[in-house]
Amino acid sequence: MTSGLSERNRHLLVLAIGLVLLVGLPWVVDVVTLLELTIYIVYALFALSLGFIWGHGGILCFGQAAFFGLGAYTYAVAAINVGESSGPFLLAILLPAAFAALLGAMMFYGRLSDVYLGVITLVVALILFKFVNSTANETYVIGDARLGGFNGIPGFPTLNWPGDAGSPLMPDEMFYLAMGLLIAVYFGLHGLLRSRFGRIVVAIRENETRAELLGYDVRLYKTAVFAIGGGIAGLAGVLFANWGNFVSPGVFGLAQSATAIIWVIVGGLGTLIGPIVGAVLIQFLTTLLGQQSVVNNAFVLGAILVLVVLLLPKGLMPTLGQLLSRGRRK
């Protein structure tokens, strides 16, 4: 990594910006904007989950929404049954992580890679979508919660202060929580990547054969990375569910997985800040485009994706980093 700032300073800068946004934003914007920003953060977290497994683990997952959706649905179902939100919150992270571990083990121990991995992840997300989408019948219940099929699940208890089911989080508190979690996950992943585990994961991305010949069980490491990514996607799903107080099968949809890939590729592979920047930028653009009807949204996003692949194959943030450091040297 080359950049004008030293690595340490760069992370301090990210932390500072993060904290300023965390504390400052609720003071300067109105509630609707704050709600809008909360969803950006949720998406950033989702992007980060894919950015980690793809950019650092070398696993391109075409069905990351499977874990996002699983997190959202697990939370909704568990919250209806439990009421108090702490248990459901944890369960909705652990279950997608466990599911990712299982799926990952199946794929990596079967030595699937590249396109085949892409197809399987895509298909698994599709299966989940089709299944959940066809659970409108009243026989599909888990405890007190009806899965609801196409309707989705509305009106489940939203997150509350831990231990106190009677005090749900207000929109501004939701913002603090989401932003705080994003910062925590970012630095958590950062620390992980500096650890022995993380360095081996990166080594596997660089050269799987060599890592194996050095005695690292690539299958195990990849499965672990995939599970971590699944857990983070699940966390993003929980926040998403709480944001709208509504989940529907669309959370498993192809579009959800696809947008995440666009965020990551636009923001830049191999960095942690890239996916976050990509998600926020693209979502901001989507919102802007949503307010006019001359140019179609998908048209612009598609054009951006094509142009980024052709002209900025490394994505925004790494390219920016290179430009900065080149500027410095001159």
Binding site: D30, V31, G149, M170, D172
Partner: protein
């Protein structure tokens, strides 16, 4: 939800939340704002576009007559693009940002159930102007469309008397289809018939080849379709293409609601039986006036776009306007109380009266046969009450009720 907590939180966001929750601060702007939330694109746009036009027409007429409570009415329109999660999002915006007096909207029952909790939570009055499966019991919502005890109750005995007793049901796989198919089974049984099979289809299914073979194997006397949306349209095409029209007749609880009869050819649509509140052929002064006004505003060509849901939307808007006039204010509780006096208006579909106990409506029902791409009235039943919801819901006794009852069979 206890949302009146923590008002000490500083910051503008927190303050505005507090303001919203403390109750809708009235008399802010120079206009009374009304939100229209419909699918204006995507696979449900055939339903939504005319509903939006009906809103515009109703608001024009209200404003031309001097507005409400001394103010003009302004429409804020949202396109939910046939995506259910957008209902939640736009519902939030309408309630928190636009602070509208009422939300008119929702088409699919799934969209209603997505937006209903949001609007209830943020104390924003909600009108759902669509024929639906009935049973919603919530004081914050008024349902102005026909319900099963009005439409299915009329349709099934009429179809059975013409065709026979064995029925095969196809329904869209979400709450509407699931519940309406039970009502169909209920009325089939009540009239001494037999339901052979019920099949559900997700809204994106567009290949019905195997299903058509299955139906033939079951040999029903007729088919009841509760299919919904653009993709399901191909069922009628494939049915006709297989030459089934001559073999097994069909009734539907949904066809025509999106004016499908003019998209389908004569050969594909003719002979299908329906039952709704409205048909263009209803011969009343109110309907003629409505058709003329629509033609004048949107062009003569546009008159054929009018459908059941557009009429229900127009009637819903007019009901709300009448209530605001009566209450003298757009304040939510006052309007609800006014409506609960059992208000009625004369609409294109006949007289429509609010039932105070259920917030549903008593209205006229017409049984229709599709002929030459037109909805021909074959039978009229005046002033049918919403018996299905009345059987389970009493908002006078339980004003805090907030559920949708489902029929058990």
């Amino acid at each position: 939800m206890t949302l009146d907590r923590r008002t000490f939180l500083a910051g503008s966001a927190a303050a505005s939340i507090a303001a919203t929750i403390a109750g809708r601060a009235m008399a802010q702007g120079a206009t009374i704002d009304v939100a229209s939330i419909h699918d204006l694109s995507g696979i449900f746009d055939a339903y939504g576009k005319p509903m939006e036009k009906a809103m515009q027409l109703a608001i024009d007429e209200i404003n031309a007559a001097g507005g409400l409570a001394g103010k003009q009415v302004k429409e804020i329109s949202y396109d939910t693009q046939s995506q259910i999660p957008l209902y939640t999002q736009f519902g939030q915006q309408a309630a928190l940002k636009d602070k509208v007096a009422v939300v008119m909207g929702g088409i699919l029952s799934a969209s209603r159930e997505a937006i209903r909790p949001t609007l209830k939570r943020f104390n924003t009055l909600y009108f759902y102007n669509t024929q639906y499966e009935g049973g919603v019991c919530d004081r914050n919502i008024f349902c102005t469309g026909v319900a099963p005890s009005q439409s299915v109750e009329a349709l099934i005995p009429y179809a059975m008397s013409r065709w026979g007793k064995k029925v095969y049901i196809l329904a869209a796989d979400y709450n509407y289809g699931q519940i309406i198919s039970k009502w169909v089974q209920h009325y089939v049984k009540l009239n001494g018939g037999q339901t052979l099979q019920v099949d559900f289809f997700p809204l994106d299914v567009s290949d019905f080849g195997a299903t058509i073979a299955k139906i033939q194997a079951a040999k029903p006397d007729f088919v009841v379709s509760a299919l919904v949306g653009g993709a399901h349209m191909s069922f009628y095409r494939q049915w006709a293409a297989a030459g089934m029209k001559a073999k097994i007749p069909m009734a539907s609880t949904t066809l025509g609601v999106g004016n499908e009869q003019i998209v389908l050819t004569k050969e594909e649509g003719d002979g299908i039986l329906l039952a709704y509140n409205w048909s263009a052929e209803i011969d009343t002064p109110a309907n003629k006036k409505f058709l003329a006004a629509w033609g004048k505003k949107f062009g003569a060509d546009s008159v054929k776009e009018i459908h059941e849901l557009a009429v229900a939307t127009y009637q819903g808007m007019m009901l709300w306007a009448a209530a605001v006039k009566k209450a003298g204010t757009p304040d939510r509780m006052k309007v609800i109380e006014a409506l609960e006096t059992g208000m009625s208006i004369e609409g294109p579909g006949g007289k429509i009266t609010v039932d105070p106990k259920t917030h549903h409506c008593t209205l006229d029902v017409v049984v229709i046969e599709v002929k030459d791409q037109k909805l021909t009235v074959v039978k009229q039943i005046p002033q049918v009450p919403p018996l299905d919801t009345q059987a389970v819901c009493d908002l006078k006794a339980n004003p805090n009720s907030n559920i949708q009852y489902e029929i058990k069979i």
